[in-house]
């Protein structure tokens, strides 16, 4: 049996009308759960993953054999304590870890969709994942949490389903993707599409893979997840296994070698077309525009408690963009807390062992959970 067949999935039979106009149905949504749903079914948390994440947020990812992407934050006794909470995390549609995506077989041709897959949005992702509440028979989640693109899904979720979660925790994200972030995503996409092995998106049926393009996309993106200070402290101008410069274009510096490594391991676990589709979904995300320029309107119908978190050195989703969400909520008198965590680890901070961040999440969840009891 193929490893990918062991992934837990639900098949969504109901038609889902996508923002692009197409309707999909009978499509798979892959998920994983952590902890136990209690009898009252009031301890469920839906975690949304970021661009290159998947449903394996904690423990060992059975496909890659690596630690889950949120292992620092999620697990027994951790910030999101799976001794207390039941956590569901799904692979977004458009993804490549078992959910309906461009590498999925198109029944009409018998070949992978490739770029025939419909363009999806954050809204589509969230609407697909909403089916998990019905599947687990959960009337109201205790919390929706996510960082980066996961945070965008959190915002879209509570806007679409205002009475479906007690607490809402968007981390290091934005309500409207900035020009800089669209530009950076476009850089990644162009790199993939410039690889002649991409073949207009139909590489799989031609037994090729645009490894080089995807690796460069990952390298460029990886830089944006770090900070100048973090890079300088970790790598500086240190040389890679050599005493002096070699006067060539090999990886002389440790930072070059590190990025090349990040690129090379990424292509083993991620699909190039998924990268195109998911970055596009992020670029299209503009919750403010969905509500005719008034972000507050997105949250008017909810009485959920919000807790927004940003990081000092995050230049990809900087504090002012997170604060805009706070301001929109304050403008309509919603219950909103906000903290900016000190960290020089850049945007990646939300994935790392940053005690102030993890403590804030843990304390917030646990004090809030006592109140709904």
């Amino acid at each position: 049996m193929n490893k990918i067949d062991k992934i837990k999935k639900i098949v969504i039979e109901k038609p889902l009308k996508l923002d692009c106009g197409k309707t999909i149905q009978n499509f798979p949504l892959a998920y994983e759960t952590y902890g136990k749903l209690n009898e009252k079914k009031d301890n469920a948390i839906l975690v949304f993953h970021a661009l290159t994440g998947d449903q394996f947020a904690s423990g060992k990812n059975p496909i890659t054999n690596k630690e889950g992407w949120w292992s620092y934050a999620l697990g027994p006794d951790k910030a999101i304590d799976t001794n207390k909470f039941f956590v569901i995390c799904a692979n977004v549609i458009g993804g490549c870890m078992g959910s309906y995506g461009p590498s999925h077989l198109d029944n009409s041709t018998g070949k992978p969709f490739g770029t025939n897959f419909p363009v999806i949005t954050i809204n589509d992702m969230v609407n697909a994942q909403y089916n998990l509440l019905e599947y687990f028979n959960i009337k109201k989640l205790f919390s929706v949490i996510g960082g980066s693109m996961g945070g965008m899904q959190v915002l879209q979720f509570i806007s679409n389903f205002p009475d479906k979660s007690h607490t809402v925790i968007p981390i290091a994200c934005t309500a409207s993707h900035s020009a800089q972030n669209i530009a950076l995503n476009e850089l990644g996409r162009q790199s993939i599409m410039a690889d002649h092995n991409w073949m207009e998106g139909f590489y799989a049926e031609n037994k090729k893979n645009p490894d080089k393009g995807l690796a460069v996309a990952r390298m460029a993106a990886h830089i944006t997840y770090l900070s100048k200070k973090g890079l300088q402290e970790k790598f500086g101008r240190k040389l890679q296994e050599r005493d002096d410069l070699k006067f060539g274009f090999d990886a002389d510096f440790q930072i070059e070698s590190y990025l090349r490594y990040q690129g090379s391991v990424f292509v083993d676990r991620f699909d190039a077309n998924s990268y195109l589709y998911i970055t596009r979904a992020m670029d299209y995300f503009d919750l403010t525009k969905q509500f005719n320029g008034n972000l507050s309107k997105a949250f008017e119908k909810t009485s959920s408690k919000f807790f927004i978190i940003s990081f000092t050195s995050d230049w990809l989703y900087p504090t002012p963009e997170n604060r805009e969400i706070v301001i929109a909520l304050n403008a309509i008198g919603k219950n909103v807390g906000f903290v900016e965590i000190n960290s020089d680890k850049g945007h990646d901070s939300f994935l790392l062992d940053i005690p102030d961040f993890l403590n804030a999440v843990k304390n917030y969840l646990e004090t809030s959970y006592k109140k709904i009891k």
Binding site: G333, V339, A360, N363, T367
Partner: protein, 184 residues
């Protein structure tokens, strides 16, 4: 809890909406939540204090009263509290205006520079006074705009802000701290 906080809490009404500006570690907010109204929010500049507030289950926004009060809609709170920080702002008048805009009423406390100990200190020692409420030296005090209770009352009168302070001269001499409930 500080005696001042009990006095402030007594001025609040049940089930009212309260914003504590510069809420510190959330001690007053916690007391208000448990005893008067659950509808309490805080604005705090120190990250360490915010962590303490979160641990207490309080809703706090990181921010600077001088910059971030503007995001709150007018009259969105029944009471806005500002405890002993007015004198530390670069522009206290701007903050006063914001407090009175956001809150239907504002509760403001100030360390009184007119207290007799302060006056004696300056008169006999000829140095800047150091007291319980004013513990710092002139070179490291956060207080930029010290005033007396009388100054504060005069200011409110001049700006047509409603304030009630009977026996002003007596109070200005014998009180180390002034706690006022004011409104536009």
């Amino acid at each position: 809890m500080k005696k001042e906080f009990f006095t402030i809490a007594k001025l609040l009404k049940e089930n009212s909406r309260v914003l504590d500006v510069g809420c510190g570690d959330g001690e007053l907010m916690k007391y208000i939540t448990e005893n008067i109204t659950e509808n309490v929010r805080g604005l705090e500049i120190s990250k360490a204090n915010i962590q303490k507030c979160i641990a207490k289950g309080l809703t706090v926004i990181e921010g600077d009263a001088e910059k971030d009060l503007k995001q709150f809609p007018s009259s969105s709170y029944d009471f806005v509290i500002l405890s002993q920080t007015l004198q530390a702002f670069l522009d206290p008048e701007k903050v006063m205006n914001e407090l009175l805009r956001v809150g239907k009423k504002a509760i403001v406390s100030i360390p009184n520079f007119g207290h007799w100990k302060v006056r004696l200190n300056l008169l006999f020692k000829g140095t800047m006074p150091i007291t319980k409420n004013l513990p710092n030296e002139w070179y490291n005090t956060p207080n930029l705009h010290m005033c007396t209770i009388k100054d504060f009352v005069n200011y409110c009168d001049k700006k047509k802000i409603k304030i009630n302070c009977p026996n002003l001269n007596y109070v200005n001499f014998f009180s180390e701290l002034g706690i006022f409930i004011i409104e536009k």
